[in-house]
């Protein structure tokens, strides 16, 4: 029966180990083994490089390439009066010192596109494109997106890609992936 007195200590030790393990912050994603050639691989894949936006941090080269395109696209969209009303959240300094609008959208969109282009180390688990653009599911959508809205988004994406000198063949691949989303985004 004396052994029983060690039980709480064992439980405590186990909990402590789990807690310490859970609290150890992972600063970098684990590089995955390259398998096949995806668009993500063509952009640099899982090779880790210094992240210019966060000194001292590393980022996968493929993700960095995509993030550069996404960030440029966000700028183009924010200055495009055809669709920028849909992206007011970018200017999220308004209110209680919420600085996250621009960076959150950049991160979210980058992860989505990274997944779509073959990234293995990042998982997009936001709303599906269909739900995100369905006013019945997503209260942020006050109306359905039109085909003209989607065309404007695509042209802004192309402009963003061109600012980053994305090679034409890769731009075509990105365009093809985005085009597959048209039916999910335009629900009219």
């Amino acid at each position: 029966m004396k052994k029983l007195s060690f039980l709480p200590l064992t439980i405590a030790a186990l909990c402590l180990v789990l807690l310490i393990d859970a609290c150890s912050k992972k600063s970098n994603p684990t590089p995955a083994a390259a398998a096949g050639t995806t668009l993500y691989d063509s952009l640099g894949g899982t090779a880790l490089v210094a992240d210019p936006a966060y000194p001292g941090a590393m980022i996968e080269k493929g993700r960095l390439g995509l993030r550069n395109v996404i960030d440029s696209t966000i700028f183009v969209i924010a200055a495009d009066s055809r669709i920028n009303a849909h992206f007011a959240v970018l200017l999220a300094e308004v209110g209680a010192k919420n600085f996250s609008g621009y960076t959150d959208l950049s991160e979210n969109l980058t992860t989505f596109v990274a997944n779509a282009t073959g990234a293995k180390d990042y998982v997009y688990i936001g709303l599906s494109m269909s739900d995100a653009h369905n006013p019945a599911v997503n209260p942020r959508m006050t109306g359905k997106a039109t085909s003209a809205d989607f065309d404007a988004f695509v042209s802004d994406l192309v402009a963003g890609a061109n600012k980053n000198k994305l090679p034409a063949n890769l731009l075509t691949s990105v365009g093809a992936i985005v085009e597959t989303l048209r039916a999910q985004v335009v629900q009219m």
């Binding site: 007195s5 709480p8 200017l91 300094e93 688990i125 936001g126 709303l127 997503n138």
Partner: protein, 141 residues
Amino acid sequence: MKTNIKKTLLWTFSVLLLLTVVLCVHIYFVYRPKAADNNSRIMARIDIKQPINQDEANKIAAWMYHQKGVDHVLVNPQTSIVVFTFAPLKTTGNQIANNFKATFNLKADRFMPTAKDMKQSCPMAASSYTYKIYKFIANII
């Protein structure tokens, strides 16, 4: 025997309570409103209320890039809109907008979306509950 079981339960409960408190404190520190740091960036927009040409757009962009704290700029001459990001530790959007108006002889205002605009914008910003839980856990680990 009974005393030992009681002791064991008491110890277990105490340890779990302590760990729960530690976890709560940890979550609080992760989620408490964070002050802006050197990596923080804010996007802002200035609407020019008159047409501009490409030359003027280039001049505006060049001037904007010389402003302290501004790191990326896009001037769209078709829409007369200036979009830029800046480091909140070095400057503010209003300061840049005011300097802009003082420097250029243009009718211009900083665009500030309303709270309603913010709630209704960007479908990608709306996240599933799974995503919210993921973000919650990801921030902890």
